[in-house]
C-alpha cells in the first residue's frame, strides 16, 4: 500500500498539496479571482465606450485594458478553470486514486500565481503595461512597446510552462490510470475532450514560447525575425502566433463541450446521442485547428492561393461542429427534460455558442472577412464563443458538480436568478456589437463616431449588468460551501458516471482500490 496521509491542515496544506482535489480547488479559485480582475478591466472598457468622446481613461490606458483583459481571461480565467475541472473530475471519472504525477501537479498550479503577479505587475511599471492587444503583434510589441513588455514575455513563458506540465499530467493520467475495464471508448466525454485538449496544449504552447522568445531577442539582442530591413517579416509573427492561437481557442472550448455532454443527458434522462461520433468530431476539430490559422489574418496580403486554402479549410470545421450541436439536440429530443440550473446554462450554451459558430462561418470566408476584419463584429463573434461558450460551460459545470464537491445543494432559486440575469444581460452586451461591427466600428479604439452611440450605450449597460450578476454567482458558491441542503451521493436523477458512486462531498481520497467497469 502507499503511505496513507492524514488530511493536512493550515496554509501548508494548500502550498505543498499533492492531492488532485485540493489542486483542483486551487485552480478553480485562482480562475474565479482572475475572472473578476479581468471582468473589472472589461468594466473600464465599457465605461469608456458608454458614450462617444473621451471621458474615463486616456487612450493608452484603454489599450492596456483591452490587452490585459484578453490575456487575463484567456490565460488566467478560462484555461485554469478548465484545468481545475480536469483535476477534480478526471481521476474520479476514470476510477483513479489521483493524478499520475501528483507533485508536478502541484507545480503546474503554483507557477500560476507567480506568472499572474508578473503579468499584472506590468501595469505599475514606468511606461505602463502592454497596450498592443492580447495578440501582441510585432512591431507594436517589439519596436514600439513599453519596457514592461519583457516582464509580459516571461509571464507568458511561465504560463506556458505551467500549461505544458498540466497537460502532460492529464495525458499520463488518462492513458495510464484508468480502472480495469475502462476502455478508451467507454471514457466519459469530458475525459475525451481533455485528452485531446492536452494534446493540443503540448503541441502549441511551445510554439507560443518560441514566438515570445523571438520577440525578446528582437527587442533586446538585435535579431531581425520580425523586421523587414533585416530580411524578416512582421507578418511572420502573425503566422507563428496564430499557429498557436487557433488551437488555443479550441483548448478553451473543447472541455466545455465535454461538460455540456455530461449535463444534457443527465437532465434529458437519456443516453448521450452518438457517443462515438462525438469523440470523432472532437478529434476532427482538433486536427483541423492546426491547418486553419491564417484565417485570422486574411487582410495581411497573402497570395490568393493562401486566401482560398484557408477559407476552405476553415469552413470544413463547420462539419464536426455541426455533428456536436446535432447530437446535443438529438439527446434532448423526446427526453424527460427538467431545467435545473446546470441544464439552463447548458441549453443556453448550445444556442449561444452556435450563434458564435455561425458568425465564425461569416468571418471564415476571406472576401467577407475583408469587411469584418478588426471590427466589433469580430469582438461579438469571439465573445459569443468564449463567454456564452467556454464561460457558460464552466458555470454549468460548477453548478453540476458543486454538490459533489461541497456535499451541499446550491441555492436553486438564486442559481436560476443568476442564470436569467446573465443570459439576458450577456445578449444585451454582445448582440449589438454585431451591428456595430457591420456598420464599421473598429475594435480597440476608445472613441467612436456618434452614429455608433446607441448600440454602444446598450452594450455597456448589458456589460455592467452581466458583470454585477457574477457577484451573485460568487455569493451562491460561498453559500453552497458553507451549508445548505445535504446532497445525496447521486445528487441528480440517476446520472451516469463513476463520480456519482462516491459519497457527497467526495472524500479526500477516492478509488484507492480501482472499481471494476463492466
Amino acid at each position: 500500500m502507499s503511505e496513507h496521509h492524514a488530511k493536512p491542515t493550515g496554509i501548508t496544506r494548500w502550498l505543498f498539496t499533492t492531492n488532485h482535489k485540493d489542486i483542483g480547488t486551487l485552480y478553480l479559485w485562482f480562475a474565479f479571482i482572475m475572472f473578476f480582475i479581468g471582468g473589472g478591466m472589461a468594466m473600464v472598457i465599457r465605461a469608456e465606450l458608454l458614450q462617444p468622446g473621451m471621458q474615463v481613461v486616456d487612450p493608452l490606458f484603454f489599450n492596456t485594458m483591452t490587452t490585459m483583459h484578453g490575456l487575463i481571461m484567456v490565460f488566467g480565467a478560462v484555461m485554469p478553470a478548465m484545468v481545475g475541472f480536469a483535476n477534480w473530475m478526471i481521476p474520479m471519472m476514470i476510477g483513479a486514486p489521483d493524478m499520475a504525477l501528483p507533485r508536478m501537479n502541484n507545480w503546474s498550479f503554483w507557477i500560476l500565481p507567480f506568472a499572474g503577479t508578473m503579468l499584472i505587475s506590468t501595469l505599475f511599471m514606468e511606461g505602463g503595461g502592454p497596450a498592443f492587444g492580447w495578440t501582441f503583434y510585432a512591431p507594436l510589441s517589439t519596436t514600439f512597446a513599453p519596457q514592461s513588455t519583457d516582464f509580459f514575455i516571461f509571464a507568458v513563458h511561465l504560463l506556458g510552462f505551467s500549461s505544458i506540465m498540466g497537460a502532460i499530467n492529464i495525458i499520463a493520467t488518462i492513458l495510464n490510470m484508468r480502472a480495469p475495464g475502462m476502455t478508451l471508448m467507454k471514457m466519459p466525454l469530458f475525459v475525451w475532450t481533455w485528452l485531446i485538449t492536452a494534446f493540443l496544449l503540448i503541441a502549441v504552447m511551445p510554439v507560443l514560447a518560441g514566438a515570445v522568445t523571438m520577440m525578446l531577442t528582437d527587442r533586446n539582442f538585435g535579431t531581425s525575425f520580425f523586421d523587414a530591413a533585416g530580411g524578416g517579416d512582421p507578418v511572420l509573427f502573425q503566422h507563428v502566433f496564430w499557429f498557436f492561437g487557433h488551437p488555443e481557442v479550441y483548448i478553451m472550448i473543447l472541455p466545455a463541450f465535454g461538460i455540456v455532454s455530461h449535463i444534457i443527458p443527465t437532465f434529458a434522462r437519456k443516453k448521450l446521442f452518438g457517443y462515438a461520433s462525438m469523440v470523432y468530431a472532437v478529434a476532427a476539430i482538433a486536427f483541423l485547428s492546426f491547418i486553419v490559422w491564417a484565417h485570422h489574418m486574411f487582410t495581411v496580403g497573402m497570395p490568393v492561393a493562401g486566401e482560398l486554402y484557408f477559407t476552405y479549410a476553415t469552413i470544413m470545421i463547420a462539419v464536426p461542429t455541426a455533428v456536436k450541436v446535432f447530437n446535443w439536440t438529438a439527446t434532448m429530443w423526446r427526453g424527460s427534460m427538467t431545467f435545473e440550473t446546470p441544464m439552463l446554462w447548458a441549453v443556453a450554451f448550445v444556442f449561444l455558442f452556435t450563434i458564435g459558430g455561425f458568425t465564425g462561418l461569416m468571418l471564415g470566408m476571406a472576401p467577407a472577412d475583408f469587411q469584418y476584419h478588426d471590427t466589433y463584429f469580430v469582438v461579438a463573434h469571439f465573445h459569443y464563443v468564449l463567454v456564452t461558450g467556454a464561460v457558460f460551460g464552466i458555470i454549468a459545470g460548477a453548478y453540476f458538480w458543486l454538490p459533489k464537491w461541497t456535499g451541499h445543494m446550491y441555492d436553486e432559486k438564486l442559481g436560476k436568478m443568476h442564470f436569467w440575469l446573465s443570459v439576458i444581460s450577456v445578449n444585451i452586451l454582445f448582440f449589438p456589437q454585431h451591428f456595430l461591427g457591420l456598420a464599421g466600428m473598429p475594435r480597440r479604439i476608445p472613441d467612436y463616431a456618434v452614429q455608433f452611440a446607441e448600440f454602444n450605450f446598450m452594450s455597456s449597460i448589458g456589460g455592467f449588468a452581466f458583470g454585477l450578476s457574477q457577484l451573485l454567482f460568487l455569493y451562491v458558491v460561498i453559500k453552497c460551501i458553507r451549508g445548505g441542503e445535504k446532497a445525496t451521493d447521486e445528487v441528480w436523477d440517476n446520472p451516469d458516471g463513476l463520480e456519482w458512486t462516491t459519497p457527497s462531498p467526495a472524500p479526500y481520497h477516492t478509488f484507492e482500490t480501482a472499481p471494476e467497469i463492466k
Partner: protein
C-alpha cells in the same frame, strides 16, 4: 532493489514545487529587470538571476534526490514507471514543437519573406519603392544589410566534425544501455563516460565556432535574418545538448554509485531518449541551417 507494490504510489505533500516556483519567478523577474529593452543597450545587474538560478538548482537536487530515493527503496510499481515514461515522452514532444517553431521561421523567411522582399510574386512595386536593388537570395541580412558584411558558416569543418561526434555519442549511449541490460556495469560506466565526453567536446567545438564567427567572419546574432536564425537555432540546440550532458553526467554518477538494475532504469532511458532527440535536431540543423545555405 525495486519490488512490485500493489497500489499506485501517492507522494506525501512536498515543498519542492513551491520552491521551484519562487526560484523561477526570481530568475525571470531579475532577467527582465536587467534587460536593456533596446537592441543597442547594455545588460543591467544580474544578481537576482543568479540567486534565482541557485534556488532552482537546489530545488532540482532536492526533488530529483527524493524521487531517486523513493525509486531505490522500491516504492514504485510498474504503473508508476509507465507514468514517468509518458511524462518524458510528452515532454520531448513539447521540445520538438519548440524547435519546430524555429525551423518553421527559417523555412518561411527563406522561401517566402526574402523572395517577396526582392519583388517575387506580386511584390514588384514593393521592391521598387521600398527596397530598390535588393535581390534577395540566401544567406542574407536583408535589404537593410543589418549587422554589416558577414560570411555564412560553411558546413564542412567544425559542423561536419560535430555531426560525426554527436552521431557517435548516440552509439556510445546505446552501447552503455546494452551493458546495463546485460549486467555489465563496466560497459555502462565506460559508455556513459564516452557519451559525456563526446557531448562536452561538441559543446566546446561549437563555442570555438561561435568565437570564430564573431571575430573572423562578421557573423553575429544581429546579422539580419541569417544571423538570427543561425544563432537562435544552433544556440537553443547547444543549450539542449548541455542539458543532455548534465543529465547523462548524473546517470554516470548514479551508475558508479550502483544505482539501476538490468530491468529497472527508467532515468537512464529518459536521459538516453533526450540525447537521441538532440541528435535528431542536430541532423535537421546540419541539413537546413548549414548545408542548404
Amino acid at each position: 532493489m525495486s519490488t512490485e507494490t500493489d497500489s499506485y504510489y501517492l507522494p506525501a505533500p512536498s515543498y519542492w514545487p513551491i520552491i521551484g516556483s519562487i526560484g523561477l519567478f526570481i530568475t525571470l523577474f531579475g532577467f527582465a529587470s536587467a534587460l536593456p529593452g533596446t537592441s543597442d543597450g547594455a545588460m543591467g545587474d544580474m544578481t537576482m538571476v543568479y540567486v534565482g538560478l541557485a534556488i532552482v538548482a537546489v530545488m532540482l537536487f532536492g526533488w530529483f534526490g527524493q524521487v531517486i530515493g523513493e525509486s531505490e527503496s522500491g516504492k514504485y510499481n510498474a504503473q508508476v514507471d509507465t507514468s514517468f515514461r509518458m511524462g518524458m515522452v510528452w515532454f520531448i514532444f513539447s521540445e520538438v514543437m519548440f524547435f519546430a517553431a524555429f525551423f518553421g521561421v527559417l523555412l518561411y523567411t527563406r522561401q517566402l519573406a526574402v523572395p517577396w522582399l526582392s519583388g517575387e510574386g506580386n511584390n514588384a512595386m514593393t521592391n521598387a519603392l521600398l527596397w530598390k536593388g535588393y535581390a534577395g537570395g540566401w544567406p542574407t541580412n536583408g535589404p537593410g544589410s543589418v549587422g554589416g558584411h558577414f560570411e555564412p558558416m560553411s558546413p564542412f569543418g567544425i559542423p561536419l566534425w560535430n555531426t560525426i561526434i554527436l552521431l557517435s555519442s548516440g552509439l556510445t549511449v546505446t552501447w552503455a544501455h546494452w551493458g546495463l541490460k546485460n549486467g555489465r556495469r563496466g560497459q555502462l560506466i565506460a559508455g556513459l563516460f564516452l557519451t559525456v565526453a563526446l557531448g562536452s567536446l561538441f559543446v566546446s567545438l561549437q563555442a570555438v565556432e561561435y568565437m570564430h564567427a564573431y571575430s573572423e567572419m562578421g557573423l553575429k546574432l544581429n546579422s539580419g535574418i541569417y544571423g538570427s536564425t543561425f544563432f537562435m537555432l544552433t544556440g537553443f540546440h547547444g543549450l539542449h545538448v548541455s542539458i543532455g550532458v548534465i543529465m547523462l553526467l548524473v546517470m554516470l554518477v548514479r551508475a558508479i554509485k550502483g544505482h539501476f538494475t538490468a530491468k529497472n532504469h527508467f532515468a537512464f532511458e529518459a536521459a538516453a531518449w533526450y540525447w537521441h532527440f538532440v541528435d535528431v535536431v542536430w541532423l535537421g540543423l546540419f541539413i537546413f541551417v548549414y548545408w542548404l545555405a
